[in-house]
């Protein structure tokens, strides 16, 4: 049940037919994990908190630096040197005290990832590198937890919603960690924009409203203010989400072969 205060607080969204009181109750009962609370994570955490998600776990191992302040809107100058998760918990709790914010000061690794995401309904990407994303992706596939990928550089961003067993996973596209595509700089509004779309996807998943970007890749370019959405397909031989056990894969030849096989000239 929603109490009187909640009916007032969430009034503007309760009147949305796709959400309503039942949807709000689902948000209240939900648990979302935000992996990384930087440019993307600050924005998604803020709006998920404001919307009334019941429990939000935020995971990060970093402290606040001056160079974070152009885009990581939960942190101010007075917070420099503090743990990001601690500052974020404090401010998000002030925004909406009814939301349980669980701060975890940790680096996400293959060893701890399952325990970090185990109780989540959705994992929202707030990371800044491919290697950790692949760790999260693999764990989400294993636990069948939806994972909302978002990534940004300069004035551009990308987003897709990964539903294990149904849509391509991150390893379908990038099976190995790549050094390319990162460290190019970010204008603060771009992660905010992508993160808010991630938050929307996460809320739709929680309330059972079909996520718009499942199996679809959204590309945003701030160069010309253009959004594009393209379908993407699963890699049937993906080492992470394919149904075929690794040991049963053919060692060479044909369409069942492994990745990176080259064209043959006859």
């Amino acid at each position: 049940m929603l109490d009187r205060s909640e009916l007032i607080r969430y009034n503007r969204q309760l009147v949305i037919p796709e959400l309503g009181e039942e949807g709000q109750r689902k948000l209240k009962r939900s648990h979302i994990v935000i992996a990384g609370i930087g440019g993307l994570g600050c924005a998604s955490a803020t709006y998920l908190t404001a919307a009334g998600i019941g429990r939000i776990t935020i995971v990060d191992f970093d402290t606040v630096e001056l160079s974070d302040l152009n885009r990581q809107i939960l942190y101010w100058e007075e917070d420099i040197g503090e743990k990001k998760v601690a500052v974020a918990q404090r401010k998000l709790s002030k925004l909406n005290p009814a939301v349980e914010i669980i701060p975890i000061f940790a680096k996400i690794t293959e060893e701890n990832v399952l325990s970090l995401i185990d109780e989540a309904q959705v994992v929202v990407d707030g990371l800044d590198n491919l290697a950790t994303r692949l760790v999260i992706n693999s764990a989400c596939v294993k636990r069948k937890i939806p994972y909302v990928y978002g990534g940004v550089s300069r004035l551009r961003g990308m987003l897709t919603t990964i539903i294990p067993g149904k849509t391509p996973c991150l390893a379908c596209v990038y099976p190995e960690a790549s050094k390319r595509g990162g460290g190019l700089g970010v204008l603060g509004v771009v992660p905010a924009l992508i993160a808010n779309l991630q938050a929307l996807e996460a809320m739709k998943l929680v309330i059972g409203y079909s996520p718009s970007l499942a199996g679809r890749l959204l590309l945003f370019s701030g160069d010309d203010a253009r959004f594009r959405v393209y379908d993407i397909k699963r890699n049937e031989n993906c080492q992470v989400c394919s149904q075929t056990p690794r040991g049963k894969r053919p060692k060479n030849g044909g369409k069942d072969g492994r990745r990176n096989r080259e064209a043959v000239y006859t």
Binding site: G151, R154, R180, G181, K233, N235, G254, K255, R259, A263
Partner: protein
């Protein structure tokens, strides 16, 4: 030159003036089907032939961009503002990274050269 294009795993694999037949044998299924957008009829065979005026990597990439633009798909490996390779893409010639290719966009392509054009995803947060 003649470019023979195969939409690959998540990139375009292009053979320049191939001296033999180019087939998809051994290639994985494609996961970005929109790479076929300018050539919808080629989906069945999976191999596309495209004539290109000029002999350089730049000529090839410009022609590709034109074809995708006609199909209303953003695939523009050369940034028109910098006139250099756009940071959303990686290009390899015969396995050699773009940065290591002499003359880069103005590199001349020879018979059977293999050019890979890969769209990069974004990893910053």
């Amino acid at each position: 030159m003649k470019a023979v294009i195969m939409p690959g795993f998540s990139e375009l694999i292009i053979t320049v003036n191939p001296t033999g037949e180019v087939t998809r044998e051994g290639l994985l299924n494609i996961i970005m089907p929109w790479l076929y957008a300018p050539w919808p009829d080629a989906r069945g065979k999976g191999v596309i032939e495209m004539p290109v005026e000029g002999e350089t990597l730049r000529a090839l990439l410009v022609k590709l961009s034109e074809r995708y633009k006609q199909a209303n798909v953003d695939f523009e490996p050369i940034d028109p503002r910098t006139n250099d390779l756009d940071f959303d893409y990686d290009v390899l010639i015969n396995g050699k990274r773009y940065e290591a290719i002499p003359h880069q966009l103005d590199a001349r392509l020879g018979d059977d050269d293999e050019v890979k054009v890969k769209m990069l995803w974004r990893w910053d947060g």
